[in-house]
Symmetry: C2
Subunit: 439 residues, 2 copies
């Protein structure tokens, strides 16, 4: 009998990060980094499980849990071989379910839940193959990759044939790039020094530490008060010197014309990109900002909910950096589409990290992109935030500001069961203790 | 002591409409029309309650119920006078909550739930004033209307000052239009004859019935099989004659180039608009289609999730008809923004009806639009579908294919409690009986 999904368990896991203002920004002053955590049980005698999560920032995580429960009947009983035989069909059976799609379509809680569940399936596929996910993807043929992708709504920008040719063109040189990846790792930037809620002293100290560790690229949160922002960017630019890259992130806090006006003030500090200058839905707004502030780049993506939106951001030349999110998009299936679209439009992909588990996820995406899609690390840098990695069985490994390639089978997202049990909301001991303390 | 919200009750109400293929279309073959139904209890001694719902098509309704429960703590205990004193602030306290917005923002289950809850507040306001909602809105001053609107992310297209001037310009002639509205009603079209799952005979019979009732505008569902579509549009055009308006609706089933190609086939039958030709997120795709198929119009909106998306559809000249949805947008607060944007860009608003309760809702929106915003009924027609009205205490009233102005206080969305109790999912008697029958 073949490998089969026999059960789905979903957990509401939350970390009380708002207590230390980790992750604070202009729009998210007090996030509690949380995960809608999915375990797919199988009939494998050795106990093979698929783990996946979607990231939220606290309240509302229970809505994603409800959405995972709605998807549960679609995966229980499925044979892994049948899924592999029609990866796109499997994805569509969830993402395009005729009733569930009404509350999206392909956006919001139901799409976040789709990512958690389908990413857990990808975890099974990688574990079954005995490979880290990036390597599983790299070893798939162009035909196999294409068969994972739902081209619905994107054929006006990218056809299956075009995508196939792009993958084929890069296939013969994958081995060379894999050797570079394994020896050098993948470039990264740190957001850890620049949270909005941090004092100047804390920012200084964290910058010093990061410089000592060898970091080259730094990100600063802005968007609360423009005078305060300018003061802080001056500090950070002075601290890291003129040659390192400095990115700023407004977390959607400006209107379009406001963003253009504010960027005049930031320009003297030479930011490489402005991230989320305005609403994540505003393709035309981003295009207008990008045109006005050139050569500073515009970056967005952590709230960009599907391939149709990214297609338009690329078509409109609205972004110079694609910050796709590993759980906002509907799993690896949809991420493959966006990587290929980005490559076609020549936009570097710099995925959104941070939160809980996002760094663990995105390393696989960028490494596959380097080997099989874009074929380059130029102008690419992967977000790194140093929170909560201790809860993962195979956490990211960093060296001198670079991600090292994961070596363990799977998608690296499995958390220790003790970590999950401690942080189950609201009944876990961490939350019960906070409740007793009146926090 | 003033009027205060003391409790929120939410119900999962579903109608087994899939059994008769009512509402069937190319993307929704078997919808079970459903409502996440909200009751706001108050301290009013006579038992004043606010009722609101968001519409879904079955599976996933329970996710919206979970989302309403997440919003519950934001409204319980609020005084109605405090809400009225800062309508936009109240809306933002829910729609822009720093943690909940992560699972949107302003889209998906959380935004649908926001609509249900905030529309229930509007129901209270109208009932308290003793007016139907359209009249409450019409009687508000331009200042009061502006104070309800969140201009965040739309000021590049419409500023509060511009909106104020638009409202003020129409204010002096409202009375004249109200007299016309009360005597003539508001023009409507029927979708009831053209569901995709209906046989030719059923379509013929329903067309005959609608013609006898005086209907002038008809809509046909297409998008499944092009040859079948052409056969059906030929039947309907022949049946209604060359002078009545015929609209077609593909329910998102085409890619962009496919839509343009298919419309060449439909053009000889003189459709007035093609509705949802492709993904509801594809602003640039709709713009390309609109340019290619002119003078046939492009319509969309029932899946357009917020004011930022509509802003861009207008900016890009991507749609010639705005089919805003009364529960997809985050309540009347956001609908006011879209009505003003549409008027500024001179795009007629023809809201999405059908489902359960949508016709009851949208009549208020179009009547307010006519009196206070657009000032015209030209090129406007309101969707009408004749299902499930019997469950409402104050259902829509139609005369010769026109909506008559509601006269009862409130937003017309209150369902009989017996209807709700019968259809509670899954424990209500209607569903229990179907379960026993093995359906």
């Amino acid at each position: 009998m073949g490998l089969k999904i026999t059960d789905l368990v979903v957990q509401d896991v939350r970390f009380p990060t708002s207590l230390s203002l980790d992750g604070s920004d202009a729009v998210n002053p007090d996030p509690d980094y949380s995960a809608t955590y999915v375990i797919l049980k199988t009939n494998d005698p050795s106990g093979l499980e698929g783990h996946g999560l979607t990231f939220t920032i606290g309240r509302g995580n229970e809505i994603c849990v409800a959405a995972v429960n709605a998807i549960k009947p679609f995966v229980i009983g499925l044979e892994i071989d049948a899924i592999k035989a029609d990866m796109c069909g499997f994805w569509r059976s969830i993402a395009a379910d005729s009733q569930l799609r009404w509350i999206g379509p392909e956006k919001g809680a139901i799409h976040l839940a789709t990512a958690a569940v389908v990413n857990a399936v990808w975890d099974i596929l990688a574990k079954e193959a005995g490979k880290p996910l990036w390597k599983l993807l790299v070893d798939m043929s162009p035909e196999e990759i294409i068969a994972c992708i739902d081209f619905k709504y994107i054929t006006d920008a990218l056809t299956p044939d075009q995508a196939f040719k792009m993958l084929q063109e890069k296939a013969s040189t994958k081995t060379k790039r894999e050797a570079i990846l394994l020896s050098e790792g993948y470039p990264a930037y740190t957001t850890s020094a620049g949270w909005l809620g941090y004092s100047d002293d804390k920012m200084w100290a964290l910058c010093q530490k990061a410089l000592a560790e060898g970091w080259q690229d730094f990100k600063l949160k802005v968007g609360a008060d423009i005078e305060e922002d300018i003061r802080r960017i001056a500090i950070m630019r002075q601290e890291i010197g003129p040659d390192r890259r400095l990115m700023i992130d407004a977390n959607q806090n400006w209107d379009v014309t406001e963003a253009i006006e504010n960027m005049v003030r930031f320009a003297p500090y030479d930011p490489w990109w402005i991230e989320e200058p305005t609403s994540p839905d505003d393709i035309l707004g981003h295009a207008r900002i990008a045109k006005a502030i050139h050569p500073i780049g515009v970056a967005t993506g952590e709230h960009c909910h599907n391939r149709v939106m990214f297609k338009q951001f690329f078509q409109a030349q609205a972004i110079q950096f694609c910050q796709l999110d590993s759980c906002r998009l509907g799993s690896i299936n949809e991420i493959l589409a966006v990587l290929l679209l980005a490559a076609k439009f020549n936009v570097p992909v710099c995925p959104h990290g941070g939160g809980v588990g996002l760094c663990e996820y995105i390393q696989h995406i960028s490494m596959f992109d380097y080997e099989a899609v874009s074929g380059t690390m130029d102008n690419r840098t992967l977000e790194y935030v140093d929170h909560l990695h201790e809860h993962f069985i195979n956490p990211v490994r960093m060296r001198k500001g670079r991600y090292l390639a994961p070596t363990q089978p799977g998608y690296s997202i499995e958390m220790f069961s003790a970590s999950r049990d401690d942080h189950i909301y609201p009944e876990g001991p961490v939350w019960q203790k906070l409740k007793e303390q009146g926090k």
